[in-house]
């Protein structure tokens, strides 16, 4: 990706892996909001239930994996759309850098939430 010197085919291959990750993690995420460890969706959204999920190692790994997979897949798709809007070396670079920045921001925000919720600090 841009300065990282990753080829487009490598990025696409990673995208396929992320899709596979989403296909496993997303149904499990829905299950934790419907019947896995909770009795209803309302209960799953209470503060204690949300914090409980962050402090259970299985669900926190699931959330981190889903965050990574969905962020990559979404931002990679957005990059492809933006690269079709215009062309040129400068545009490619601006788009790629913007997407990398958005990815760092999303992962940083999401993972910091996980760390703060897990450690309670």
């Amino acid at each position: 990706m841009g300065g990282l010197n990753l080829g487009e085919s490598t990025l696409q291959l990673v995208n396929y892996l992320m899709i596979a990750l989403i296909l496993v993690a997303l149904p499990l995420h829905f299950a934790t909001h419907a019947f896995l460890g909770v009795t209803s969706q309302e209960e799953s959204l209470t503060y204690d239930s949300v914090i409980g999920r962050y402090r259970a190692s299985a669900t926190v790994i699931l959330l981190a994996a889903l965050l990574t997979g969905a962020s990559y897949h979404g931002l990679y798709g957005l990059r492809k759309i933006l690269l079709e809007v215009s062309s040129g070396h400068r545009w490619d670079r601006v788009v790629t850098m913007g997407i990398v920045a958005a990815g760092i921001l999303m992962l940083g925000w999401g993972l910091s939430t996980i760390i703060v919720a897990v450690t309670g600090t």
Partner: protein, 141 residues
């Protein structure tokens, strides 16, 4: 820039119209919508670190009926995006794409074979069913 985005959007509806082009447009539109939701979702779940009161305040804010309309759009978009995405994956990774032929009149889209067409119809049916299910879940109609 805006003109180029407009041209890209208009290309979906430019003649000759075909189902594959429409699916391409909806796939991208739903993808951008889901990405925007994901960004919002990451931010909203981040409020849990602010403590019980901040979290419960955010949940009250999201109890707005307009948020339910957004959730319904998300159900429909995500269902279509998922099923149609599987079709695109099969198109890219399996021999489900049609075989190339000489372009004699009347031209037929070779990539949209029977298998592909069936999955595309399935994507539309599933999106419709998720709309019905969403209405039941959100408003108990």
């Amino acid at each position: 820039m805006i003109e180029r985005v407009g041209n890209l959007a208009r290309s979906v509806f430019r003649r000759p119209l075909n189902l594959e082009k429409l699916a391409f447009g909806i796939q991208r539109l739903s993808g951008v919508g889901i990405l925007l939701y994901l960004m919002m979702h990451v931010f909203v779940t981040g409020t849990v670190t602010g403590g019980r009161e901040v979290w419960e305040g955010m949940m009250r804010l999201l109890a707005d009926p307009m948020a339910d309309v957004g959730k319904l759009m998300l159900f429909i978009g995500a269902t279509f995006h998922g099923v149609n995405g599987m079709r695109v994956l099969l198109l890219e990774l399996t021999p489900l794409a049609g075989r190339p032929v000489r372009p004699d009149y009347p031209y037929r889209v070779q990539s949209l074979g029977t298998g592909q067409r069936l999955i595309l119809y399935l994507a539309m049916i599933m999106a419709g069913l998720s709309a019905i299910a969403g209405i039941f879940i959100l408003w108990g109609v």
